[in-house]
Symmetry: C2
Subunit: 409 residues, 2 copies
């Protein structure tokens, strides 16, 4: 893509209401544009990142037997009355034709439980795990922190259904491992820790995945031996590491990027969701739910991966693989060559000064920057620089593609 | 995928409120499940088809320079007041925190126009074409006909912005050709005709794409020479073929699967969206909009492509390439082999009778059906049958993969 043609250009001005690093940098670099508080437009660069995150999540969900479905955002309020959650304060209410009461789902237990109930009758139909990647709606009193707390936001929600608690526990551990794999692939694995939180009335614990970063809105209590943590909500009752008993937990700042929960029979009770076991006896279904917000993850990555000059995208979710800066009228041939080698390139072909182009490249944050200029030609090739490094090097044209592909493999 | 594990099984019972062929067959075959009137869940089979349709559309939009963005469903009512469309009867209204007035967008001119205005100032920034694939919300008085008229439904909407009418006209024709290519790839090209409709106050005509089918809700007037039509709305003022002047137009039934519209300056006037031309003079931006509903297209395909036994999917949008019926305990080896050759297979591995399996294969409608049974083995191979044909043939195991891939190429 030529930057001159790309919709959405960088801006020098900080959005006056940007209350967080991710809102500020993503808006300045033209990845997102605020519509109203907590509601964002994704511009081409931003949608590319969001889609890459969603696809990594999708692949890992498929690998653990998750089947993708798509449920509506809009649902009859009735289902929420059945579970008693219709009074939840973040629920958006609206009226349909004939004065029917509708809501926009902030989560989908009230939709998926009766849906699965239509197709699952016997132990032979279990277990089953279904997920979707859909927008969620929450009428937050204070939407804030850019993509971190939205009113309309992207969510992957997986739900699993089991014959008994043992099978739920088995699958819950599989999902936990899949979540770590996702964070690893996205590039925040090393900073993301399993955090024990309240299990509600049914389970001892639920779990959050918290990404350590100084600007995080949560405080968690980290065991440096096990790399697990306890969240603020339960630290008064759980004062030691749940894994090793260590009582020296360190308070650190973090941002939540996922949570998983054994629902047990909370929703199957409400909807009377039973199955017949192998003896033909009626039994209640056990459920788990597993959330991860792709847009929230995107915001968290920016909170973690930036410097004073801009964003530093991890390689698997960068909007393009290469940011090619063309100077002195050069670059077009190289751009075409890289495209022909299936390398995703953003080519800054604008007729402006080198300084402005470098500043934009730093702000946008693509991992590899190339410069094609008279100077680089004189030195025998193309300037190659990683966004995360200070130093650049000159690479001969013939070695450039292998240099790029080896970085990305 | 093994059918025994697939979420959502066929049902013999016709949904009592299915008012159309697509609602009936898609529900019976477990592609979709109604949530409320005009609002559907997409089960795994249904989401696979919807995603394939969306991806074909996406590829063709990218080819004509469309840049993908994602706008929110939820927006401030204010933007709709600016254009005077806040009284539109299908608009869903809701309240945000602080008693703010919000709407769910039934279309996105009110969002995209001020969004593009934030980045486009000069003739150098034009033309630009942006599209999204998002859910739309319309509070229809009578949602009906399954996926054809929904309250929440998938929509691809492309918007283009130009320096003048000539450039708008140029791009409008490019989009028209891209639409035909999409219908061709989806498998309804031969039945889909360009239909002239009202251009509103600004243009002589807008255009619909109508798919001819006996169950269609629209009547259009077709010129058999040119394969173009005139819609009901303008037939009294446009009594002849707009292409050749033929005055013998035939009334036929059809379903609308897309529409394109020269908006001209309707929205740029409302939002005061000007640009500077090469002389620095302020000029108004010209706009076009181009809609196509993937879920509506999916419903239309079923209306057109079915028989008494079920759906007959066109090959590019079928949920799987092969429906493998295993009988007499056979099929597992073949299933694994086909998977290893990257062929998408739905394998009916259930322990039920052959008749029920064949009936399900016909209902689900995957283009290629294979039967692995003692009988087919005795005859020297695997039974191969197209869903669209009556006759089957026996193919030797060694020739099977090339037989399948040649059908799909």
């Amino acid at each position: 893509m030529k930057y001159s043609k790309l919709f959405g250009k960088t801006s020098k001005n900080v959005a006056s209401d940007a209350d967080s690093v991710n809102a500020k940098l993503l808006t300045q670099a033209a990845f997102i544009q605020k519509q109203i508080s907590g509601v964002y437009n994704f511009l081409p660069l931003g949608l590319r990142v969001l889609t890459k995150i969603q696809n990594i999540i999708r692949e890992e969900m498929n690998k653990i037997g998750g089947q993708e479905v798509l449920m509506p955002a809009m649902t009859q309020e009735e289902n929420w009355i059945t579970t008693g959650r219709n009074t939840m304060d973040v629920l958006f209410h609206l009226k349909g034709q004939g004065d029917t009461n509708l809501v926009l789902n902030p989560t989908h237990e009230e939709v998926i439980t009766p849906l699965v109930q239509k197709y699952v009758f016997s132990y032979r139909d279990l277990p089953v795990a279904l997920y979707q990647i859909q927008n969620k709606y929450r009428n937050e009193a204070r939407a804030k922190s850019g993509l971190l707390r939205g009113r309309e936001f992207s969510m992957k929600d997986l739900y699993s259904f089991h014959v008994d608690e043992a099978d739920l526990n088995r699958y819950y551990d599989i999902v936990k491992q899949a979540y770590f794999k996702i964070y690893e692939r996205i590039g925040i694995g090393g900073k993301t820790v399993l955090t024990f939180s309240s299990g509600g009335n049914f389970s001892q614990f639920s779990h959050e995945f918290q990404t350590l970063n100084e600007g995080g809105e949560d405080t968690i209590y980290l065991c440096s031996k096990c790399r697990v943590a306890v969240n603020k909500e339960i630290i008064n009752t759980q004062k030691t590491c749940p894994e090793c008993g260590n009582d020296k937990l360190e308070a650190v700042k973090a941002t939540e990027v996922g949570n998983i929960f054994k629902l047990r029979t909370k929703f199957s009770d409400a909807f009377k969701f039973f199955y017949s076991d192998s003896q033909g006896k009626e039994k209640i279904v056990e459920m788990g739910c597993y959330g991860m917000g792709p847009s929230r993850v995107m915001g968290t990555v920016v909170e973690l991966c930036h410097d004073d000059a801009g964003i530093i995208w991890p390689k698997n979710i960068a909007p393009y693989q290469v940011h090619l800066v063309g100077l002195d009228g050069l670059g077009e041939d190289l751009y075409q060559e890289l495209l022909s080698k299936n390398i995703d390139v953003l080519f800054d072909d604008r007729d402006i000064g080198a300084g402005a182009k470098f500043a934009d490249a730093d702000l946008i944050g693509i991992p590899v920057r190339l410069v094609a200029s008279k100077r680089s030609q004189e030195k025998g090739g193309i300037e190659f620089k990683l966004r995360s490094e200070k130093e650049s090097e000159i690479i001969e044209a013939k070695d450039l593609v292998s240099k790029i592909t080896s970085f990305y493999n």
